[in-house]
């Protein structure tokens, strides 16, 4: 591995990872709200936000699906060195990262009735992220929220699967928002 890909991890792992974890957790708890997250400098096309999410949530026991949009040798090496997460097919992934159009939604695990948690969390890289567009309602949202989602229908279908289903984290630059399976989208 080249020295370049060995850089760009958290400088102060316990502190940076705690802040990032807090941001991801709060984003999941308040769907639609946008947070900034910092500390990671991953190789392009990974955004700093998605890099920080990977550093925080992935380890050798979280199989990761790398969509074609993000499947470069440098990205692979960076993720391997900093997290150790193995790369797998969509069916076996616990996490996935990539552009919306490159994520095969129907292939990911949605959990089982005994273990709904055995489902994938998708980190979707977006060109922009703003509180416009689709309307979100549900747990963690006071009245309603707005978020620039790629495609409303997919999230409506996903919410139908509850308590099974996928969870989503959207990243853009150093910002992120989340959409768990409990959120109703219109």
């Amino acid at each position: 591995m080249q020295a370049q890909v060995l850089e760009g991890g958290f400088a102060d792992v316990p502190v940076d990872a705690s802040h990032a974890f807090r941001a991801v957790m709060t984003a999941m708890a308040r769907p639609g709200e946008i947070f900034t997250i910092s500390g990671a400098q991953p190789p392009a096309p990974l955004s700093p936000a998605s890099g920080a999410v990977l550093l925080t949530l992935c380890d050798p026991e979280t199989p990761l699906y790398l969509a074609a949009s993000h499947d470069t040798p440098k990205v692979r090496d960076w993720i391997t060195f900093h997290t150790g997460a193995p790369f797998v097919a969509a069916q076996n992934a616990m996490f996935a990262i990539g552009a919306w159009d490159d994520l095969p939604l129907s292939d990911f695990a949605i959990g089982t009735p005994e273990y709904p948690d055995r489902s994938a969390t998708l980190i979707v890289e977006r060109p922009t992220l703003s509180n416009t567009g689709a309307t979100l309602r549900g747990p963690g949202i006071k009245n309603q929220a707005q978020l620039s989602l790629p495609k409303v229908q997919s999230f409506q279908d996903n919410a139908q699967l509850f308590p099974l289903g996928l969870d989503f984290i959207f990243t853009s630059g150093d910002r992120l928002a989340a959409l768990p399976r409990t959120t109703k989208v219109t």
Binding site: M1, A3, L6, E7, G9, D12, V13, F81, H82
Partner: protein
Amino acid sequence: MNIMSDPNAARKGWLGLLAKSPAADVARLWAALQVASDHTILRAPEIGSVMVRGRAGAVGAAFNLGEMTVTRASVKLADGTVGHGYVQGRDKDHALQAACVDALMQTDAATSVNAGLLMPLQTMADKYKSDRAAKAAATKVDFFTMVRGED
């Protein structure tokens, strides 16, 4: 694996030696080593575990035996050479020193690092091993058969 055919054999050798050597020995020899080792840290020393696996029936399918403590670190020397250290136990300095040694062994400093640190470690490891082997050998049973009955 044949040493001649494995291009990584030498590096494997010193990394394994550093991993298995007592932290105190590495620290003592490292402190005595007169080698410049300015470096930046790529991965700060981190204490963790590795799940050790065995094989059913010694040769069969793998199973999880239990974990062991391991500490790792990665550094980059001023000239850009990268070194990695994975050592047994929970000593962060040990891991950092192992990473620095790994990096230095890929530079012109290799000869002095080898002579001042790796060779003494290898000598100590060999002696420990041969002492135990000699004690074990002394407990080996020599059977002698009692001849009895008709010839």
